[in-house]
């Protein structure tokens, strides 16, 4: 099958700093991917490489099978929305959209106009005079109205409040349902978007820590708590992400398979089992725990 985006052994260093290390990814078309990572994980670097704005130190990218560098056709499939570098300063909102419309073959002006109204942006305002949130909204409008077969949103909502972000998510899902395309959403606001993602890629310190279907991943991440000995009995051999003790109770987070049968046995032992939400799993996998007293004694 032809993937929408392929990354083959992508590495990138800036001097001595290794930003990306041997990234291999295959993104299928028409799915919503979440590219999750902490600040500095390498998300933007990877996305800039995918869009040929940055050159990898080694490795190759394929967009629908073609290398994107200096390739009109391949690049024509992509629209990337970024925090900065998306617009010229001395240009009015209306003109900025006008310019964008001439660069994206699938541009839908009705959608752009509708979003402009929903976001209440003034088309006569100069870009440099917009607030941070409004600049983000403009970027989002371009990203959605472009209807590009591969649309990338790289943390597109700086300065946007929760209501504004919700508007974005709603508009995104709505338009995706009517016009399916490959969407890559790069973010660290995971709990807000986790329900929207079909596939998840967790990037940490330049490597892919985890990738796969979001529900499948969730089905491998469990909280188990109960009496300490009983818990420990049941988790031998399983990959443990975190442990916390309160008196005789032990609460663990594991990343492993648990069959229905195992679940029943555990529950019969009075253990509580629930799925770990993506946000929390992410924190465990990227080492974002707070140091607690118990850790020091371990």
């Amino acid at each position: 099958m032809t993937y929408a985006v392929e990354c083959r052994n992508i590495s990138k260093s800036f001097g001595k700093n290794i930003a990306l290390s041997d990234i291999n990814l295959n993104l299928e078309k028409d799915k919503i991917y979440g590219l999750l990572g902490r600040n500095g994980a390498g998300k933007s670097t990877l996305l800039n490489i995918v869009t040929a704005q940055l050159f990898p130190s080694s490795g190759e990218v394929r967009i629908f099978g073609e290398a994107p560098y200096e390739n009109d056709r391949a690049l024509g499939h992509i629209c990337i929305v970024k925090e900065s570098g998306m617009f010229l300063k001395d240009v009015k909102v209306g003109d900025a959209l006008d310019i964008a419309s001439s660069f994206y073959a699938n541009w839908d002006n009705n959608l752009a106009e509708r979003l402009l109204r929903e976001f209440e942006l003034d088309r006569k305002k100069y870009y440099k005079n917009l607030s941070l949130g409004m600049k983000s909204q403009l970027g989002i409008i371009v990203g959605l109205a472009s209807r590009a077969p591969i649309t990338i949103f790289d943390e597109p909502y700086i300065g946007l409040d929760a209501a504004g972000r919700q508007l974005f998510y709603d508009a995104l899902i709505d338009d995706y349902m009517e016009n399916p395309r490959t969407i890559i959403l790069s973010t660290h606001l995971i709990d807000e978007v986790s329900n929207l993602l079909e596939e998840v890629i967790i990037l940490h310190k330049g490597t892919v820590k985890l990738e796969g279907n979001s529900e499948d991943i969730k089905n491998k991440a469990f909280y188990i708590s109960g009496i300490k000995d009983r818990v420990e009995n049941h988790i031998t051999g399983k990959k443990v992400l975190s442990k916390e003790e309160f008196g005789k109770t032990l609460a663990v987070a594991i990343f492993d398979n648990i069959s229905e049968k195992e679940k029943r046995v555990m529950e019969a032992d009075d253990l509580t089992i629930s799925n770990v939400p993506l946000q929390q799993l992410f924190i465990y996998l990227t080492g974002g725990r707070m140091i607690k007293r118990g850790d020091i004694n371990e």
């Binding site: 040929a52 940055l54 009109d72 629209c79 990337i80 570098g85 010229l88 001395d90 660069f103």
Partner: protein
């Protein structure tokens, strides 16, 4: 071809604000110059006219090129334009900008000449005006001269801008220092001058303006021949 048109539209929209500001200033300078000339004349200083200067246009063109390259390259890369297409689009922008600037400046000086004439200044006094308003044949030649100079200046400073974009300030200074040093080596400046002499002399001849166009175009192409590989290896900056 589509993308070149889209880029030109982008350059047009991007230039609008600075264009309006620049020409407003130029107009004000012309008006101010006229007022000062009138004042001086009334004080008995005949033979003095304060006019606008073409250098301003050259500087504007040069800076526009340099700044536009640095601003629009990352913007266009983000929009999915190939670097090759960008350079071609920029050449078109360079040429069109020079045409527009030269025509506008010619019109401005024509206007100045008209006003001075109406105010009773003599044509002797107006000799200071780089161009007198009345010989139509000369107007075209002068526009061509403006065009050539603006074209060359813009292309050169775009080149400077492209070196700055790719290599940064330090490298640019280093390069500039190197060139200056070369000029201090005995014999080098003279050699350069000797090499350029035939070219400069040919301009004073019959086909002067035609050759001027030719040389400017060659210079333009030479600049962009260097800009092209620089752009092709340029990336988005952090």
């Amino acid at each position: 071809m589509n993308k070149i048109k889209s880029q030109l539209k982008m350059h047009y929209i991007n230039s609008k604000l600075s264009f309006i500001i620049f020409w407003s200033i130029m107009l004000s300078i012309s008006v101010l110059g006229i007022l000062i000339s009138i004042f001086l004349r009334s004080r008995g200083y005949h033979g003095v006219i304060v006019t606008n200067n073409f250098i301003a246009v050259v500087v504007f063109g040069a800076i526009s090129g340099l700044v536009a390259y640095n601003e629009t390259l990352p913007y266009m890369l983000n929009m999915g334009i190939t670097r090759k297409s960008f350079v071609f689009g920029f050449i078109a922008y360079n040429i069109i900008l020079s045409i527009v600037l030269s025509i506008l400046f010619a019109l401005l000086t024509l206007l100045e000449g008209l006003v001075y004439n109406l105010l009773g200044f003599t044509s002797q006094q107006m000799d200071h005006l780089f161009f007198s308003a009345f010989s139509k044949g000369e107007i075209l030649e002068r526009v061509l001269l403006y065009f050539a100079i603006t074209l060359v200046a813009t292309a050169f400073f775009t080149l400077v801008g492209s070196i700055y974009y790719k290599k940064g300030m330090m490298f640019l200074f280093g390069l500039g220092a190197l060139i200056m040093l070369l000029m201090f080596i005995p014999g080098v400046p003279q050699a350069v001058f000797e090499a350029l002499k035939p070219m400069i002399l040919s301009l004073t001849g019959d086909k002067g303006y035609l050759l001027l166009m030719l040389y400017s175009m060659i210079f333009l192409l030479a600049c962009y021949a260097i800009i092209y590989p620089l752009a092709r290896t340029s990336q988005i900056k952090r």
